[in-house]
Amino acid sequence: MEGGVKLKTELAVIGAGPAGLCAAIEAAKNGVDVTVFDENKKPGGQLFKQIHRFFGSEEHLAGTRGFEIGNMLLDDAKKYGVKVMLDNVVWGLFPDLKIGISDEEKVSIVEAQKVVVATGAIENSLSFPGWTLPNIMGAGAAQTMINVNMVLPGKRVITVGSGNVGLIVSYQLMQAGAEVVAIVEALDHVGGYMVHAAKVARMGTKILLNHTITKALGDKFVEKVEVGKIDKDFNVVKGSEQLYDVDLVCIAVGLRPLSELCWMSGMKFDYLPEMGGFIPVHDNNMKSNVPGIYIAGDVTGIEEASTAMEEGKVAGIAISQALGKIDNKKGLILLNEARERLGTLRLGPFGDFRHAAKEKIIRKYYSY
């Protein structure tokens, strides 16, 4: 790569969400010179729209609201001298550890000794007749509007998808003053935690299992949606369709890794539908198969903010070790602690499959 302004940093972190910030903080703590790049105007990724309390144990900051954890991370980043460059789109990541960034005025090239890709995830969409009508949006978009921008996008809502995102955003829409008429779920069971489902159910939201949205109607924006029952082959049962008056439809049908930079840099992938699709492989230090490039958070498989933070810490510690900032013995102790905290978050019926998937990803890393 030639031309443009050249910047140098020991560690470049792409993405200022929970994974990226934690990687940056851990590395900076050990004396690594760290710069974080993010295309948004504010750091924190999705943390600042999470107004609910997080699960886990004390060491995972359980019982603390997501945005408060965001504030803690920003304080720590400042304390340890992490540089955060906002409003910078990272458009390129090259195998020689050069990164292409641009802000509104210029294009620059960053030269780093190590890189962490922590670009997170993107929401899946769902197409049905009328799906392009305004006010049919990703649940994450609705959550940003209510919790970050303080704008209520609709008053009568149907949510599609009963995973934790669908359940939590439905609850938060009600906190913001909307009525969530129903949550529509194609499967025969709730996808997310029962306790989240219980919260919205007792507030009057119907959870319609084995149902799907069949079409949306409206002139300038969505005014009605048709919801139908589906049989075991996922076909709509004729005559079961019902119309609901709504002015907002939230689509919460899963996420997938935002992995363009990983592809571009030459990383190897594995296909794991349970983790969101194509996942870049990594070892248990979160090191990808491109020398010097580490990955952490949802880009390495869809999980949650708590796991993203721990993965970020693992990457930050491993990088400190690789750069000779901490000795191997101290590094190993810190790594094992972080891996143990990660393991704890991947227990139980909602965690076992993620634990197994991660093992598979690590095995795949060594097979290349």
Partner: protein
């Protein structure tokens, strides 16, 4: 989904106090029957009346030595702990609900008591609103309801 069968499951779960303890006064009732990695209820309890232990996906086990302080109601990320006082009066029980909506009701208000499916069960009367600053916006609202509904009512809405 949150019907009678579900309530039976809750009653048999390890987070449910004994009938003996329920009849003695205010006590926490934990409605958490999925193995999720979470244990703030255990950490916060000053009496060690809740055990999750290791692994933290264990269901919370309730030990009946609860003083009814309400700390677990506030800290539970699932808002899955309630406080029931079957001894509130001769005919009425009180239930304390973690409540994160605005506007808050006023003491003395008559509200519509709802079951776990959001259906109207009866009228309730607001006895107390605890918005302690340390509770960090999870308010504890206590309402009185006819005693026979103490296992059924889990939410309320304001009368329009």
């Amino acid at each position: 989904m949150f019907d009678k069968k579900y309530i039976d499951k809750l009653r048999k779960s390890s987070g449910w106090p004994s009938d003996e303890r329920l009849n003695q006064g205010p006590v926490a009732v934990i409605e958490c029957i999925e193995e999720i990695p979470c244990n703030p209820c255990e950490t916060v309890c000053p009496k060690n009346s809740i055990t999750v232990g290791n692994p933290i996906t264990n269901l919370p086990k309730f030990h009946d030595i609860c003083t009814g302080c309400g700390k677990c109601l506030v800290v539970c990320p699932g808002l899955a702990v309630f406080m029931i006082d079957r001894t509130y009066s001769e005919t009425e029980a009180s239930i304390t609900i973690p409540y994160e909506l605005i506007p808050l009701p006023n003491k003395g208000d008559i509200v519509i008591a709802l079951n776990r499916m959001g259906e109207t069960v009866c009228k309730g009367k607001v006895l107390k609103i605890n918005s302690n600053k340390n509770y960090n916006k999870t308010n504890l609202v206590t309402i009185s309801i006819p005693k026979k509904y103490s296992d059924e009512v889990r939410f309320f809405k304001l009368e329009k």
